[in-house]
């Protein structure tokens, strides 16, 4: 299958969506002439013109708020917030306006917008440029939250997000942009909310998403050498999340580890664990373990960053805990 970088899969998804639907517009800092701070929007300005590809000032609140109004008025805006950390400036438009519009206006409004949020660490970008805040959005009724783990899903899920009639928080891990993976010429699109079993295994279920999926594969390969077979479930979307696929896996393995880069306490993994401790309780043969970042802001120095970021070693330790 042909290969592509993550950033190029995203770029192709944006280009294809814009070509297919003239109401799709892009907004963000440096998304035009420069091609995006991470190169995701390269070439789109010259292809679609500056009416549809807008370089914006550093005005996160008004830009996301404007996307809400534009979405209510016939456009499908895709907004890039340069780092997920800066979405703190645009929470009102996302949470109080976009998320609630359909419900609050009696089902008669729809806000088909996408907010792209690059998250994640490992780049020594420091405490204000590395956070994983997806749990916030997953807690907000009316929002969908998506986070691709593969190159193909970067394309497929971004197309799905743009086509979705509701506001979608689309999370990209910065550490992946330059990585390569398979991208079919004609990826099959699907809606939001379906997890996949990324790697089958009989002993322990590891539920994860985003850049942590590849780290989980590394851990799984190393455990396989010892005869421990880990089943990796890639959630792909956090809200809604695919409880059926997770429960089915736990019903096979009877053991669950949840693994992600966000900090553990009150993080996304808590919901997965809590639901399985309810709906899947009878299937569990062991405690549910979460492997996630410790309760600290992301640090800058590489020595610290390495200790902070949950990787294969931490996951392996977590898997051993549920096998004890």
């Amino acid at each position: 299958m042909p290969e592509a970088r993550y950033r190029d899969a995203l770029n192709r998804a944006l280009g294809d969506a814009m070509a297919a639907d003239p109401s799709v517009v892009l907004l963000g800092q440096d998304v035009g002439a420069f091609g995006g701070p991470f190169g995701v929007t390269r070439g789109l300005l010259s292809r679609f013109g500056d009416t549809r590809v807008r370089d914006t000032p550093i005005s996160e609140a008004a830009i996301v708020g404007a996307a809400v109004g534009a979405a209510m008025s016939g456009l499908r805006p895709v907004v890039e917030i340069m780092f997920m950390d800066f979405v703190t400036l645009a929470m009102d438009a996302i949470v109080n306006q976009a998320a609630k519009a359909r419900f609050m206006f009696g089902g008669a409004a729809s806000v088909p917008m996408v907010v792209r949020l690059p998250h994640g660490g490992g780049l020594s970008a420091g405490p204000q440029h590395s956070q994983c805040l997806e749990a916030w959005f997953a807690h907000v009724p009316g929002l969908k939250v998506v986070c691709p783990a593969t190159v193909e899903d970067s394309y497929v899920l971004l197309r799905a997000a743009i086509e979705d009639p509701d506001p979608v928080i689309f999370i990209e891990n910065k550490a992946l942009y330059s990585e390569r993976g398979e991208l079919p010429d004609h990826p099959v699109c699907a809606g939001i909310g379906h997890a996949v079993v990324h790697r089958p295994g009989r002993d322990v279920t590891v539920v994860t998403y985003g850049a942590s999926v590849a780290r989980a594969v590394t851990a799984a390969e190393s455990l396989a050498a010892e005869g421990i077979e880990v089943e990796i479930v890639d959630l792909r979307s956090l809200q809604p999340w695919d409880e059926a696929t997770v429960l089915a896996s736990v019903a096979r393995t009877h053991r669950l580890v949840v693994f992600h880069e966000a900090v553990e306490s009150f993080g996304p993994g808590a919901e997965i664990a809590a639901r399985v401790a309810d709906a899947g309780f009878d299937e569990l043969d062991a405690r549910i373990v979460r492997v996630a970042a410790p309760f600290s802001p992301p640090p800058f120095a590489p020595a610290l960053d390495q200790a902070f970021l949950p990787g294969p070693a931490q996951l392996i330790a977590g898997v051993r805990r549920v096998l004890e």
């Binding site: 109401s23 517009v25 009416t51 549809r52 807008r54 914006t56 000032p57 005005s59 609140a61 008004a62 830009i63 996301v64 708020g65 404007a66 996307a67 809400v68 109004g69 534009a70 979405a71 209510m72 008025s73 016939g74 456009l75 805006p77 009102d92 438009a93 109080n96 306006q97 519009a101 359909r102 419900f103 609050m104 206006f105 009696g106 089902g107 008669a108 409004a109 729809s110 009724p141 009316g142 969908k144 799905a160 086509e163 979705d164 009639p165 509701d166 699109c189 699907a190 809606g191 939001i192 909310g193 379906h194």
Partner: protein, 337 residues
């Protein structure tokens, strides 16, 4: 189609066109006034729950502005939005149904007074977040520009909203992108329980001027002046000349919300309908221009009957069910999923 003028079709044959226009404005203002005073009773009786911010004494602003709007235009409002939505032509029945928390209301009982919206007429919603509607109107103006549909977007906001950062960001963006955005500041001097003079150090017209946004300050209780200014700005907006800002100086007559005894208000004696009522001013002007008192009274009777009918209909509305509400948190799942 001009919504402000639409109502004028019911004008009495004997009035001059200008007077007929003014009668239309009067009818719209009287509708707002009567509806809101009725809401005040309903609130006192416990039939209108939640927060209720009345715009009594401020009716000339939305009625004047709406006279400049076309069907394709869009409007974003704030927490004090009854006048905005009625002036935009929303139906009284569904308006009362909503505020009284019924299933057939504009929001099916989920929003109430602070969230009335009707996408089908470009009413993008009242808003519970001070300043929250301004970026929404900005984005709607952006959509109009991208789609090249000749429409304009209106943002209504109060003087208190001038302190919110998103409003300033929006001024800059509107100016930068020359968006067809009409910013309407309803300056009633108060921001909840504090005078806005203690909250905002600039004058809004100077602020707009710093961004090169054409701006005017005018007597917001003179509906004819508001309508004229709005028409002239709307023309400039439709000609692609970039955003405009209209400061309408007016007065808040009632409390910040119903139930507010306004003990904090030194200006209460001065700010009363006796001294500066946009409705009395317009009716005096109508009488002065030869309109018969009977014509005005006929409008008043018709409006009063319509409001009463709407209240009665709303009383008979059903209580909403939560199952229906829950089903509307998300859109139905797209088909290929």
């Amino acid at each position: 189609m001009n919504r402000g003028q639409k109502r004028v079709e019911s004008r009495p044959a004997d009035a001059s066109p200008a007077a007929a226009d003014m009668l239309g404005l009067y009818e719209r203002m009287y509708t707002i006034r009567t509806s809101e005073l009725r809401l005040a009773n309903l609130f006192a009786d416990g039939a209108a729950p939640g927060f209720l911010h009345l715009s009594v004494g401020q009716e000339a602003v939305p009625v004047g502005v709406s006279a400049a709007l076309e069907a394709c235009d869009t409007v974003a409002s704030n927490h004090r939005g009854h006048g905005h939505v009625i002036a935009r032509g929303l139906e009284l029945d569904r308006f009362f149904l909503e505020i009284m928390g019924k299933a057939q209301g504009y929001c099916r009982g989920r929003g109430g007074s602070m969230h009335i919206a009707d996408m089908s007429v470009g009413m993008l919603g009242a808003n519970g977040i001070v300043g929250g509607g301004v970026p929404i109107a900005l984005g709607s103006a952006l959509a109009h520009q991208v789609r090249g549909n000749g429409a304009i977007a209106v943002a209504y906001f109060g003087d208190g909203a001038l302190a919110e950062g998103a409003l300033h960001e929006s001024l800059n963006l509107a100016a930068l992108w020359k968006l067809p955005l009409l910013l309407v500041c309803e300056n009633n001097g108060w921001s909840e329980f504090s005078p806005t003079s203690a909250q905002f150090a600039a004058h809004v017209v100077d602020l707009a001027g710093a961004f090169g946004i054409g701006a005017r300050s005018l007597d917001g209780n003179d509906v004819v002046a508001v309508a004229e200014a709005a028409r002239s700005f709307a023309g400039e907006l439709r000609a692609g000349q970039g955003p405009r800002l209209l400061e309408c100086v007016t007065r808040r007559i009632r409390g910040h919300f119903e139930g507010d005894a306004q003990k904090y208000r030194p200006d209460l004696a001065a700010a009363s309908l006796d001294t500066d009522d946009p409705l009395s001013r317009l009716s005096a002007r109508l009488l002065g221009s030869g309109v018969q008192a009977a014509a005005i009274e006929a409008i008043e009777r018709r409006v009063a009957a319509a409001v009463e009918a709407a209240v009665e209909a709303a009383r008979c509305g059903e209580a909403p069910t939560f199952a229906a509400a829950l089903a509307d948190v998300y859109s139905p799942v797209p088909t290929h999923a």
